[in-house]
Symmetry: C3
Subunit: 257 residues, 3 copies
Amino acid sequence: MSGQVHSERQGHLIVVSLLHPGKLNAMSCAMWHGLRSVFQEIAQDPGLRCVVLRGDGGQFCAGGDIAEYPDFRFSEAGLRNFHEHEVWPGLDAVQSCELPVVAQIEGNCMGAGLELAACCDLRIAGTSTRFGAPIAKLGFPMAPREIELVAAQIGPSLAKEILFEAATLGAQRLFQTGFLSRVVDDAQVGREAMATACRIAALSPQAAKLNKRTLRALQAGSLAGDLAADPAAYAWADSSEHREGILAFLEKRSPEF
Amino acid sequence: MSGQVHSERQGHLIVVSLLHPGKLNAMSCAMWHGLRSVFQEIAQDPGLRCVVLRGDGGQFCAGGDIAEYPDFRFSEAGLRNFHEHEVWPGLDAVQSCELPVVAQIEGNCMGAGLELAACCDLRIAGTSTRFGAPIAKLGFPMAPREIELVAAQIGPSLAKEILFEAATLGAQRLFQTGFLSRVVDDAQVGREAMATACRIAALSPQAAKLNKRTLRALQAGSLAGDLAADPAAYAWADSSEHREGILAFLEKRSPEF
Amino acid sequence: MSGQVHSERQGHLIVVSLLHPGKLNAMSCAMWHGLRSVFQEIAQDPGLRCVVLRGDGGQFCAGGDIAEYPDFRFSEAGLRNFHEHEVWPGLDAVQSCELPVVAQIEGNCMGAGLELAACCDLRIAGTSTRFGAPIAKLGFPMAPREIELVAAQIGPSLAKEILFEAATLGAQRLFQTGFLSRVVDDAQVGREAMATACRIAALSPQAAKLNKRTLRALQAGSLAGDLAADPAAYAWADSSEHREGILAFLEKRSPEF
């Protein structure tokens, strides 16, 4: 089995790593499955507050594992199965995660890598990281759900540049237009991603989950008025985190969540 | 009663000021009401062409008045009432204003301040202005309508950075990614906001109202095709402003609106 | 008849030029018709892979031909007919083109010019190019379909700055916020646009068409899940371009499309 997804818990954090040595962590079918498994475990661990997604060896992910493609992509059923029942459930596991997910992006962030980055909430990259999806060189388009995901996060213009011209873009361009939260020296990406995750983990976990739920619902097409009308929309009024946050502020002390 | 909203008419312009001395103009319930009243008066004044929204004393608005919160926020009914019947009608009064609204943003633009800025049409800020909504420190999420409002204007990535990490962002970042129309020296923000409002007031008021109506309808989910099919969509064909604008151009003179 | 639209085929490319000498290529009614005709011919030419849209004489397009306006714009029926049956079909012909369209943007890109640029997929501009839609000086608003088109590509904040303040913006601002793919020296715009079109034409035409179809459907409000569920969504599995792209990669050679 080629390629794996590892996870390592560190207090309130969990670091999820893509590993496919010699292939710049290109996603194999086994890795799409592995990613789903790891995020299912994360969903059942109430002590976690934040996830870091990274690739091993200074590379985020260079795309899909093309060596596997001739086995299944040239049949319509196989191709549909791959995108709808392998890739998408893996991506959806990341973007459906209740916890904030920080992408630690180094080296190549291409194709499936760009899609995985688009599923994360905050994105920290190194100055020399490259972004793209040069699949027009491979003779095929991006699947509909994957285009929607990527275009929603990088915007229509950059999506077209990447898809029509097979352009690769630098970190500075993706910071400037808003996709990346920050760009740091290549050697500092891991440190900055962990520092970000620690900052998030020290804040109210309830606020993070509720904000993420609302943002995801809006992205999926829900109307804010409908979300607000939900009888449960303000059920957190009497919660201990809400009381602690406000009382700590008024007592001029740091809150403890 | 703590905190007030003042307004001062100057020809075709009206300057609306948030005042809450000693609290960086944090919005009290009284101020949400006051804001609504001021914008109701604006709606009934046919001589006005542009609104400037600012905060007193070199501060836009640092958020909500947290000192008031223990009185009502820990009950579900009180919390819902606050967001749905105090905050939202205030925000909606600003964003529903028929006239272009210019935000003059100095100092802190946090929480409710960021939401108010998002309700404006043009945003002028000073180089040292800070933006954010660090409510994850206060143990609570942003209400659904308020998240939708903010995310639509600053984009999903910055919204997540602000909400999950309680990040505060500088004016340059919010200019670069498009939220701010321009950034000027702190000492020039008021002058630039007024100059912008004067430029707007010299242009066609009819064009401004019709453009704003269309932009608001699109933002609220209307389809352009439906708006265009409205029998009234082109009712301005024979209006004096339309004639004046086109004839002035052809006669190589400045139009008078 | 004042103003024309020319086209010139060059191998897999076609260059479409706006020509209205002495008027900075302002769009006359004849030119809106001409644009539609040219794109209808493009739709029937299976050998084409990419379109370049440009204006003659170092100018993209300065707007509509205002000299024609008194003849029809002051009647409601004439105005509606102009926007819905002259302008919109011309714009829609460009944005509905199955092939990637590269805008070569020099000089003025105003009003109808900005709208035409918004219909293209990649946008290359010169450093001194100016962008705007100062129609508030002409006493009239932008038509609903045209506002939707422009705001979707430049974002709500820049759209408001352009419409309410009649602001003209430089190329750097529109690159920074994502509308432009790149900005080059004024003298290099044509060369860079052609080089971009050649790069696109060397890639998989099938991938371009399928990606564009998906992006257009999403922009028009389709859900990715519905597009993916279409029985034809993966019909390209066994296509020669798909096989060629993947096999060429595995054989470490350049693909031939």
